[in-house]
């Protein structure tokens, strides 16, 4: 296969991934059934993992699949199943409020696109080319050591806090 055809194929696959991401994001926000929202979120997160592949990092794409699609989505599904009739209520929002929310997000999108399309981006002068996982591990254990430890502490506190929050209220209400 000649290189031009490969390039075209990769470009087409890129836009398919982008389309999957936005389809998943729309499903995650617009339907009123919460289970469809979670499935759409999983689709959007898998699409973002594909974008990470195009951005040159296989490792982060795998982490995205493992942490987001594997852990966070499953825990949301689990919480939905634990608390019973979630699909019953949530009345329809009035139209003015939906219109105001839509206006706010459109204003944000237009502002962001305006800012970064008028900015002249300058790449750094000497750019390192070391994309290996070993380099990431080295940086995590030397330069970003403190942040790494603090993240572990935050995760520990979050786990204990989640147990306490969910456990105490059960004792109070029963």
């Amino acid at each position: 296969m000649n290189p031009f055809a490969t390039e075209t194929l990769a470009q087409m696959a890129f836009w398919v991934v982008v389309g999957l991401t936005f389809a998943g994001a729309s499903i995650a926000v617009f339907p009123r059934n919460i289970l469809y929202n979670v499935l759409g979120l999983a689709l959007a997160l898998a699409g973002v993992a594909g974008l990470y592949l195009y951005l040159g990092s296989f490792f982060i794409a795998l982490m995205q699949l493992l942490i987001y699609v594997g852990a966070i989505t499953i825990s949301i599904v689990f919480a939905i199943m634990l608390s019973r009739p979630l699909h019953l209520e949530v009345p329809r929002r009035e139209l003015p409020k939906v219109a105001m929310g839509l206006g706010a997000s459109v204003v944000f999108f237009a502002g962001a696109v305006g800012v970064f399309s008028t900015t002249h981006w300058v790449p750094a002068a000497d750019r390192g080319m070391d994309w290996s996982i070993a380099a990431i591990g080295h940086m995590l254990l030397t330069k970003y050591d403190l942040v790494f430890e603090v993240i572990s502490l935050v995760l520990l506190v979050a786990i204990i806090g989640a147990i306490v929050t969910a456990g105490f209220t059960r004792r109070l209400s029963s």
């Binding site: 995650a28 959007a44 982060i60 459109v106 209220t169």
Partner: protein, 102 residues
């Protein structure tokens, strides 16, 4: 192959969809899902800057990993708060959660 602006537009669009979800939904789990979308938009931006501009390609990947860890912590805490609120109010509509008094 694609330019930086393509990825920045994708990130901004993901963030905007998430923002719309947070503003428009009244379902707490729906709002949590929308917040995850916003975090992913920011992550796409980090990875794009890392790919096209940054002096050292490990930095953006490490920041993205940290954001993922914080998102996991946030999801755990948020879901436990939602469970506690559901047990108390028998509803996850956020407009019912108006009283601070226990």
């Amino acid at each position: 192959m694609n330019s930086l602006n393509v990825y920045l537009t994708i990130g901004a669009a993901l963030f905007s969809i998430g923002l719309l979800g947070v503003l428009q939904r009244r379902n707490l789990i729906g709002m949590l899902i929308a917040v995850e979308l916003m975090l992913n938009g920011a992550n796409v931006n980090f990875m794009a800057f890392n790919r096209f501009l940054a002096p050292d390609p490990t930095v953006g990947q490490i920041i993205t990993l940290f954001v993922m860890g914080l998102a996991a912590a946030e999801a755990a805490i948020g879901l436990s708060i939602i469970l506690a609120l559901f047990r108390r109010l028998h509803s996850i509509n956020i407009e019912r959660a108006q009283q601070l008094r226990g």
